[in-house]
Amino acid sequence: MGGLTVTPVLRATGLTKVFGTREQEALRLASDGVGREEIHRRTGGTLAVHDVGFTVERGELFVIMGLSGSGKSTLVRLLNRLIEPSAGTVEVDGEDLRALSDADLRTLRNEKVSMVFQHFALLPHRTVRENAAYALKIRGIGAAEQRERADWALRTVGLLERADARPDQLSGGMQQRVGLARALAADSEVLLMDEPFSALDPLIRRDMQDLLVRLQTELHKTIVFITHDLNEAMRLGDRILMLKDGRTVQLGTGPEIISAPADDYVADFTSDVDRTRVLTAGDLLREPRMTARLGQSTGDVLRALGAAEANGVYVLDADQRIAGVARDDLLARALQEGRTAVGPRELVGDYATTAPDRPLVEFVHLVGHHPVPLGVVDDHGRLMGVVPRAAVLDALAAVPARRGA
């Protein structure tokens, strides 16, 4: 991901929104750390979002996660100024949204930031194709190009054959595909998705998540995705911002949040998450306690094994690739037979490996059957580290107990 020199596509700083007439007073109270209910009692205003800041890098899928009333829908609307912030700034490609005139803001919404809505928000009196082309129509692009772009977007979401239908003739999942196509056809850099799959059946939701993942690998959009479902957040998000009562509770990757929840609120959420699908081999990776090299002294390796109370060791070649596993019994026999250097004859294929991005659920059955821990290897077969059985058990056992349970 981008280094320090890259400007993030989206940067929010100190974003705050108060609904109500006594805005300044509420802002002052909020900055003094007064809670939401107290502010409402004293000013009648609602502190929807308070002092939220984050950056989203190009191509990142950034999830904002919170329960209803946590301010997430307000927050996403602050990002394209559909709601005017009470304080704080939003920058898109380094451009401050608050400095834009109405016309420039419309241009930005039309060309740079598209939005997908929870209840689809399609125009019921237009066809699917006209809906997909909506941003282009506003942009004033020629009819032929509108059609071409809209058809491309519809094909991308797998709905081209229904281009002449009306939205009310489609199922919910298909309608949201149109909503997605409308955002894609605009060819904007940033996609704001406000609980796009929440209104769909679980199976359809799963399909749509798959679709989004596939689209993202092809198109590399910068996405801000709102959800109240932590499993969805874990599945899709590169990073997740946990929102509670309009304030940031935790910001990090899925595994970070699962393995170190910031407070009880987050922990409560994470206890419901299927950790075997979130944690990857890379997350559980440990430095191997010892490795051996081809050509190393058999006696040294055997002594080291004894000291480590281990039965086997990974033997690496000059490129750090796994040549095989040296077992203590075979090493002892080699020593008896006078072979003093570890060579191919002492090696067995008694090990298993996995790639670092595989989730726990896919390799948990491989752990614990070999004299060496599960090896984690990169694309070139080089050993990056190991996942011992203890690490797996530790990860699975680290479920924080539900309060009151």
Binding site: N80, L82, L105, R106, T107, L108, R109, N110, E111, S114, M115, F117, Q118, H119, A121, L122, L123, P124, H125, Y134, A135, I138, R139, R155, T156, V157, G158, L159, E161, R162, D164, Q169, L170, S171, G173, M174, R177, R182, A186, L192, I204, D207, L211, R214, L215, E218
Partner: protein
């Protein structure tokens, strides 16, 4: 209690207006007169059979055979009652008044939906307009325009405006907020949102308003017969003053027949007409290959398919 001379003030205001801008009332009067006379001429001079055929055809296209049958029978009955000319005079009055009332009411309704201040001001005005007794409308009309057709039309317009405003405002406010928000989110200008999203989606409600405008106009036109406007109103007023039950009944019946025709015809506005349903069904059939009437199954390979 001090005696507030409210009535005097209003009378003074009317005097002042008459003295200051007489040309305005003359111009309004002339335009109305021309519109009503012209339309009456067109409707009443052609033989009844021509217009009955036209009305029937319109009813058939807009609503279907049921209303077409009603139209033929109702207007033939009107002819046999020898009230054809009066009915056409009334129709002309109603149409002119309804068109003008709509032209005034719908834009006010749009403004009220978009601007809170307009809405706040408009609401009590509309309330008082709708609760004011019908005859009160006749008084300023007479002051400004004397007697005859024009004050009748003006009173009718004023009386018929409120539902146009109310149902337009309601219709626009009822448009799905998320859809309007989506239009904003894709950078549409306020004018584009009004034209391409709010008005089309509010159309059924606006058309219900137009329907109400027409019905109110028709009910007022009869009252306007008191001012000497020709038509069924005059027939009814004459019957009342002469205690002529027979012609009173016939005049009243003609009003009812006309009202039912106009109501059924315009109630369909904003909904798909018989003709458009037919056309749409045909295009759908030709656009789709045979055997794919059921919704297509969800595509399993959406990306790059």
């Amino acid at each position: 209690m001090p005696d507030i001379p409210l009535g005097r003030w209003v009378a003074d205001l009317i005097d002042w207006l008459l003295a200051t801008v007489p040309w305005l009332f003359d111009a309004v009067s002339a335009v109305m007169q021309v519109l009503v006379d012209g339309l009456t001429e067109v409707l009443a001079t052609a033989p009844p059979v021509v217009w009955i055929a036209v009305f029937t055809l319109v009813a058939l296209v807009v609503r279907g055979p049921g209303l077409a049958l009603y139209t033929v029978l109702a207007f033939l009955l009107v002819v046999s009652l020898e009230l054809w000319v009066e009915t056409m005079q009334t129709l002309a009055l109603v149409l002119v008044a309804a068109v003008i009332a709509t032209a005034i009411g719908v834009p006010i309704g749009i403004l009220a939906a978009r601007n809170h201040a307009v809405s706040v001001v408009a609401r009590p005005v509309l309330d008082s307009m709708q609760t004011t007794p019908v005859f009160v409308y006749l008084i300023p009309a007479v002051f400004f325009f004397g007697v005859g057709v024009v004050p009748g039309v003006v009173a009718t317009i004023l009386f018929a405006i409120p539902p146009g405003v109310r149902l337009t405002e309601l219709g626009i406010r009822q448009v799905d907020r998320e859809v309007v928000e989506a239009a904003h989110a894709f950078g549409a200008r306020p004018g584009q949102i009004l034209r391409e999203v709010q008005l089309p989606l509010a159309l059924p409600s606006i058309m219900a308003g137009v329907n109400q405008v027409i019905m109110l106009a028709l009910s007022m036109v009869v009252t306007a017969g008191l001012l000497g406007a020709a038509g069924l109103g005059a027939v009814v007023v004459r019957a009342v003053t002469q205690l002529d039950v027979a012609s009173g009944f016939e005049g009243g019946l003609a009003v009812v027949l006309l009202a039912i025709f106009l109501d059924r015809l315009t109630a369909g506005f904003g909904q798909p007409t018989a003709l458009s349903r037919l056309l749409r069904a045909r295009t759908r059939r030709s656009a789709r290959p045979v055997g794919t009437e059921a919704p297509a199954p969800r595509s399993k390979e959406p990306v790059g398919a």
